[in-house]
């Protein structure tokens, strides 16, 4: 059971990537689903992932760099959420998700995770198959597999009731000091439409990694390209990332102040919507009190916080979330409990 739990995170945040907003997939950390249609979603920077590790290390997946800063920010939720995780064996885990919502529909989701037996690292086992089904019949599924030592591939699809909304496959090649990824999104041979996304990330120095992203989309009668560049600098306790593209700019700074406090600052400027926003977030981790507190304050006058507390004798953890928008005077609060 330990390996199943290690490979998949028990409290997965709903993926914040652009195209899969409705999925709520339980994605193992590190396997972020790249946004399939960045042309539709305003920022192509959702795909900016990078990791740097060792001297001229492999910089990691393209999405990871902004991920570290984004993880500091609290996640907005509303209504009541109950999650029950149950591990059935070393390889198999099942979860039930009941979400009661004040503005929207209440749903029940059933998810299953299967982890294979090919071990490539201390906590990574392949293949990983994650599936999720909604009470209305919408299905999200992902299969991740390590094909060779350097190539990892992922196939994912998402349906809305009985209609396929997203289907994509990608392959990632990890070289000595670079990572290249090719993603094919919603390819439709009959209609002749599809999206191809290529990422390339190269370590220049042990601290600096540069990369680029190219998105090519084709529809009958229309095709276009979006390009963006990513730079990431890692210091001893901070990571600074910058993404510049035709869709706007996205800069993030992550700082680890001490064992308990991590701070992130994020600046997003979108050329499509002609607006910029600055957010400041912090995460306070107190293992002695079994508490994880995340707070954020935004330039759109939005203040929010999430409190996660483990009630220890039971395998129970409680999540309280509040978000207050001062300019529109709207308040949203949510409550969740996770068992197992």
């Amino acid at each position: 059971m330990g390996s199943v739990l290690a490979a998949s995170s028990p409290n997965p945040p709903p993926p914040a990537t652009g195209g899969t907003a409705a999925s709520g997939l339980t994605v193992p950390p590190g396997f972020g689903m790249p946004s399939v249609s960045p042309v539709i979603s305003p920022t192509g920077a959702a795909l900016g992932q990078q990791e740097t590790e060792n001297p001229l290390p492999n910089p990691g997946a393209f999405d990871e760099c902004h991920r570290k800063c984004k993880e500091v920010f609290p996640m907005q939720m509303e209504g009541v959420r109950l999650v029950v995780n149950k591990g059935l064996s070393n390889h198999f885990q099942v979860n039930h998700n009941v979400m009661l919502s004040t503005m929207g529909d209440s749903t029940y989701r059933f998810g299953a995770t299967y982890v294979g037996s090919k071990q490539t690292g201390p906590a990574e086992l392949f293949p990983v198959m994650v599936g999720d089904m909604d009470n209305s019949g919408s299905l999200n599924a992902q299969i991740i597999h390590q094909i060779t030592k350097r190539i990892r591939s992922k196939v994912a699809f998402q349906t809305q009731q009985n209609k396929f909304v997203n289907w994509q496959g990608d392959a990632e090649f990890r070289g000595e000091d670079f990572t290249a990824t090719v993603t094919l999104g919603n390819p439709d041979v009959l209609v002749g439409s599809g999206i191809v996304v290529t990422h390339y990330l190269q370590s220049i120095t042990p601290a600096l990694a540069l990369g680029g992203e190219l998105v090519y989309h084709h529809r009958p009668g229309e095709e276009g390209t979006v390009m963006s560049f990513v730079g990431r600098y890692t210091g001893n306790n901070y990571i600074a990332t910058l993404t510049l593209g035709s869709a706007g700019a996205h800069a993030s700074y992550y700082h680890k102040a001490n064992d308990q406090l991590q701070v992130g600052v994020e600046l997003e400027a979108s050329s499509r919507m002609q607006d910029t926003s600055v957010s400041f977030g912090y995460q306070l981790d107190m293992p002695k009190a079994n508490l994880l507190f995340k707070g954020s304050i935004d330039s759109n006058w939005v203040v929010g916080a999430t409190l996660e507390k483990k009630l220890l004798p039971l395998p129970l953890s409680l999540v309280l979330c509040t978000f207050l928008n001062h300019s529109k005077n709207k308040f949203q609060c949510g409550f969740g409990a996770t068992i197992g």
């Binding site: 306070l284 107190m286 507190f293 707070g295 304050i297 203040v303 916080a305 507390k309 207050l324 001062h326």
Partner: protein, 180 residues
């Protein structure tokens, strides 16, 4: 019988303008303005009461000079309140002083209103943001401190006053009553 009135007497007394007309029998009939009706009335009374030939000097009618009459009428018509009279006093200042005073008064009133509404909004935003961002952490840290203090106290009671201050579950001590 024609009444002969010496012309002079009227000249002395009556200062306002008057119209003269003569009747066919030579009687001087003077058409007076309303002021002088009183004079005429008095004159005729005396003429009836006393000698017809002589006219004594007309007793002075309370004739007021026109300025006094005008003033009295104005005093009766004007109905100023106290504030209007005080405001009228300000007319003695020169125009620049008056306009500067007005501008500064208006500006300070609007500034006071803005400060008031800004401080209301700032107080609300500050209080709610503090409640959301800081208060839960404060509660939890205080609770943690209290728990640790109690643990330490119990450990001291159980093991004696020289027990070192170390965090962590002691194995010998019965577990603290569940406070989750």
């Amino acid at each position: 019988m024609a009444i002969k009135v010496p012309h002079r007497a009227f000249d002395d007394i009556y200062l306002g303008s008057r119209y003269q007309s003569s009747t066919t029998d030579g009687r001087i009939l003077e058409i007076y303005s309303p002021h002088t009706k009183q004079i005429q009335a008095d004159k005729y009374q005396r003429a009836e009461a006393g000698d017809m030939a002589t006219i004594e000097e007309l007793s002075p009618v309370s004739v007021r000079p026109p300025e006094d009459e005008i003033d009295d009428d104005e005093d009766e018509d004007l109905d100023e309140t106290l504030t209007e009279r005080l405001w009228g006093l300000t007319e003695m200042f020169p125009d620049t002083v008056r306009s500067a005073a007005e501008v500064s008064a208006v500006c300070s009133v609007s500034l006071a209103k803005k400060i008031y509404s800004f401080s209301r909004a700032a107080l609300w935003v500050g209080t709610t943001s503090f409640m959301i961002l800081v208060l839960p952490v404060v509660f939890e840290t205080e609770r943690l401190q209290l728990e640790q203090q109690q643990l330490q106290q119990q450990r001291q009671i159980l093991l004696g006053p020289n027990t070192g201050m170390s965090a962590g579950m002691p194995g010998m001590m019965p577990p603290a009553p569940g406070k989750i």
